[in-house]
Symmetry: C2
Subunit: 224 residues, 2 copies
Amino acid sequence: MSICGPILGDVADRVRGAANKRPRYDPDRLLEVAVQQFILRGYEATSMAQLGKAAGLGKSSIYHHFASKEAILHRALSRALDALFAVLEEEQARLGPPPARLEHLLRRTVEVLVDELPYVTLLLRVRGNSRTELWALERRRHFDREVAELVAATASTGGLRQGLEPGLGARLLLGMVNSISEWYRPGGPLSAADLARMAASVGLHGISGAARAGAAGARGAKID
Amino acid sequence: MSICGPILGDVADRVRGAANKRPRYDPDRLLEVAVQQFILRGYEATSMAQLGKAAGLGKSSIYHHFASKEAILHRALSRALDALFAVLEEEQARLGPPPARLEHLLRRTVEVLVDELPYVTLLLRVRGNSRTELWALERRRHFDREVAELVAATASTGGLRQGLEPGLGARLLLGMVNSISEWYRPGGPLSAADLARMAASVGLHGISGAARAGAAGARGAKID
DNA sequence: TCCTTTCCCGACCGGTCGTTCGGTTCCCAT
DNA sequence: ATGGGAACCGAACGACCGGTCGGGAAAGGA
C-alpha cells in the first residue's frame, strides 16, 4: 500500500518491495509506466514531472534511464512495430493461398494488438510531430502496405466483392482492426483469441462475397 | 502568392484580397485555420503563436475572436458533434425496420465525416484532457450508444451473425467508419456518396449473415 | 472630414516545459 | 568494512507556453 502512486496497484507500487523501500527501476519497467501515462494524457501533454510522479521518482531521475523524452517514445514505438512485423514473418502469413494468409495476418495482428496493447495504442496515435514519430509512421505504412498487397492478391483470386477496390478494402479492414485498441481492456469477458477470430471473420466477410447494396463505382484508394 | 502561409493556397492567403492587404478574419474562418493546425500537429502541440503565424496574424490577435485556446477547440468539436447528431434526427434513421435504419445511419455518418472532415477528425482524436474534451467525449459516447442500440435491434430481427455480440459488432462498425477520417482526402477519385455506400455495405455485410470461420463464443462488449 | 467600431500589433506576465548538473543515498562485490 | 557504480535527488537553466494590456491602423457611416 502506498499513497505515492496516483493509481492503486500501479507499476510504481509493484516496483518497490513489500516494505516501503525506495523504488528501483530499469528502463523496461519505467517504459511501462511512461507509456501508460502517454496513453492517458497524450505524449505531448505528459510532462517529465508527471512521468516522474507516476513512477514515484523525481523528474530528473528519468534521465538516468532514458536520454530524453523522445527516447522513451522511440523505445515504446519500436516495441510495437517489432511485434507487428514479426507477424509478417510467420509461416502462415507467407505461404498458402492469399485468403488464408490474410485471415492469419489479421487474426495475429489483433492478438499482437491485445498482447502489446499500450505500445500498439501509442503507435496508432502517432501523428508525425518529431523525427521519431515520422520514423514510426513510415514503418507503420510499410506494414499497412503489406496488408494491402495481400488484399489485392486475395482480390485477384476473386475473393473480393464487386466494385470494392483492394486498397479501400485494406483500409477499412485495418481501420476496423486498429480501432480495437480504443476500447479493448484485458481482463474482460472476451479473450484475445476469440476477439481476434471474430474480428478477422467479420472483416473478411465484409470485404468478400456478393454485394448487397450496390455502390456504383468505388475506385481509387491506394495505400501510400 | 505569399511566403507567409506554411502551405500554398491556404486559408491565410484566401482571406486577404488579391493585393497583399492585411488579413481580416471572422471566427469561422479563423476556426478553419486553427483546426487545420490542430490536426497537423495535435492540439496540445500547437501553440497560439503557431496558430497566429498560420493565419498571418500575431498570436495576441487570436484573442480578439476567441476567448481562449480551449474555446477554439470547443467550437470545432461542437460543429462536428452537431453534424453527427443531426443524422440521428433524420427520418430514415428513426423510422422503418432496424437494418434499413442502421444502413442509413452508417451511410450518412460517413457522408458527414467526409463533409466536415477536419472537425470530425479532431473529434475522433480527443482523449479527455480538459473539461471541453471530456464534454465532447461524453456527447460522442451518446452517439455511439445510439448506433449500438440500433445494432442490437438489428440483431433481435436475426440480422446479426452467430456468436457476434451486438456491442462488439457496433464497436467494429464504428471503428471501421471512423477510421476513414485518417486517410480520406477530398478531391480524390472516390466521391463521398460512393464511399459512404461502400463502407456501410462492407460493414453491414461483415456483421450479418452466416459465420464462415467459427468463433466459439465471443461475448460481452457493451458500449459504455 | 471626423468619429466610432473592428481588428490587429508588440511587449510583457507568471508559470511550466525538457534538460542539465553537482551531490547524496543505496546496493553489492570485494 | 569499504570502495564503487547504479539509482536518485533538488535546484537551476533557457526557452517557450497561454494569456493580458495599451495603443495604433483600417474600415464605415455620418
